[in-house]
């Protein structure tokens, strides 16, 4: 079966690949582009570890048909750091022990980024809601919630 050409922006860089029909965006990112930061968890939309931003909006890459991102902008955890420096969210996750096994962390960080991009000073309830589609089996969520709140208040301190 013929492959389909696909072009989109990946973390600010134009990429062009060929995909098989029905390939999901997660497979395209990991196996064709080599961005291993979004993880495969459930493949059903239940765990959130494959979360990415498409045109700034949180999506599950495992449930996104790769062809539907043609001409759009896809952001993954790989694009979060600023040069050699960690993003404030990544720093807050490290400082607050918000990553244990680390498997949920890419999705948690992208869900948190989606929240802070449109709501820089969220309440605790808004943070809980924002990460409600992401499952963590290690931390009990509290350190993650605290980390997102710390990153938000850190932003305010800098401003």
């Amino acid at each position: 079966m013929a492959k389909t050409p696909l072009q989109f922006r990946h973390n600010g860089r134009d990429v062009a690949i060929f995909v098989d029909g029905g390939t999901n965006l997660l497979v395209a990112l990991r196996e064709l582009i080599g961005d291993m930061t979004p993880k495969f968890g459930c493949g059903q939309g239940g765990c959130g570890t494959c979360s990415v931003l498409i045109d700034g909006e949180l999506h599950l890459s495992c449930l996104t048909l790769a062809e539907t991102v043609a001409g759009r902008s896809v952001e993954t955890l790989d694009g979060l750091k600023e040069g050699p420096n960690l993003h404030p969210l990544q720093r807050a996750f490290a400082d607050n022990f918000a990553a244990q096994c680390g498997y949920c962390t890419p999705g948690m960080l992208m869900a948190a980024k989606a929240l802070l991009d449109r709501n820089p000073q969220p309440s605790r309830a808004e943070v809980v809601e924002a990460i409600s589609g992401n499952i963590c089996r290690c931390t009990g969520y509290e350190p993650i919630i605290n980390a997102v709140l710390a990153a938000a208040s850190g932003g305010r301190a800098r401003a």
Partner: protein, 272 residues
């Protein structure tokens, strides 16, 4: 296994492609079809898409509301005119699922999903479908009864009359995980009042049968009466009639039958 992806600008062409190929599925937000492909569902060999903007249109200005099948739950949550639907929209998935999942796709979501359809059923919604031979309107109730045979048609939109007042429409989802989780059961009621009497009572239940269903016995108990304690008790006692829930990891069929009346009573009494 690779599948063929066909994208059409017109819904007419997309419907023709769907109706001519039994192994074709329409891809909306992806939360059902991509999941099936990820699980290796070999019954799907063609994925059909339509880029027609009519599929994502919301018309909520008049007394009759129309939601394009491709409208996402996230979009409903930012529509002030659709405030009465914010509770069902918010009860679905996390933010990513709400950014992807659509009103049309929800009509096909199996138990324990399909919460929004329960709300639509209580509002007596009508589904606009496009088949190979043309378009037609079909009552949601009827659509759901033959849902398994509807894969060859394209759902274009869903429409319903706006509730007369905010109190007339009520919704409740029982889930073990908050704020996100599959439903133990889902309940919605539309209780238009004329004077002090309920006229045109609708009660819909999710996860109490393979598809969302109307609780007709409960509706009969409410019809023509005022919403007092004895009416509420009668409706609650009748809630389980005609249901056929199944067992799953969230709850047993026995448990669902036991609690449906309890939660209908709370819904009708306005209890949290």
């Amino acid at each position: 296994m690779p599948v063929t992806v066909k994208t059409f600008t017109s819904t007419h062409d997309a419907a023709a492609a769907l109706s001519s190929d039994r192994s074709a599925r329409y891809l909306g937000g992806g939360t059902l079809v991509m999941r099936a492909l990820n699980e290796g569902d070999i019954s799907i060999s063609t994925v059909v898409r339509a880029s027609d903007h009519a599929m994502t249109r919301i018309d909520a200005t008049g007394s009759r509301i129309t939601l394009g099948a491709g409208v996402t739950f996230a979009r409903i949550l930012v529509e002030r005119d659709l405030a009465f639907l914010h509770a069902p929209a918010r009860s679905i998935g996390g933010p990513a699922v709400r950014n992807m999942g659509t009103v049309g796709g929800n009509l096909f979501a199996p138990v324990p999903y399909g919460d929004f359809t329960v709300a639509m059923l209580a509002l007596d919604a009508t589904v606009s479908v496009q088949g190979g031979l043309g378009g037609r309107e079909i009552a949601l109730d009827e659509f759901l009864q033959s849902r398994d045979r509807q894969t060859g048609v394209l759902v274009l939109a869903i429409s319903f009359a706006k509730p007369g007042s905010a109190e007339a429409f009520r919704y409740r989802k029982i889930a073990r995980i908050k704020p996100k989780g599959g439903a133990v059961i889902t309940l919605a009621a539309h209780l238009p009042v004329n004077g002090s009497r309920i006229v045109g009572a609708r009660v819909a239940l999710g996860s109490m049968a393979p598809t969302p269903i109307r609780a007709r016995a409960a509706e009969r108990a409410l019809e023509g009466r005022s919403l007092d304690a004895s009416t509420i008790s009668a409706a609650a006692a009748a809630a389980v009639e005609g249901t056929s829930p199944g067992d799953n990891a969230l709850a047993s069929a026995w448990y669902r039958r036991e609690i449906v009346g309890v939660h209908l009573k709370r819904l009708l009494s306005g209890q949290e």
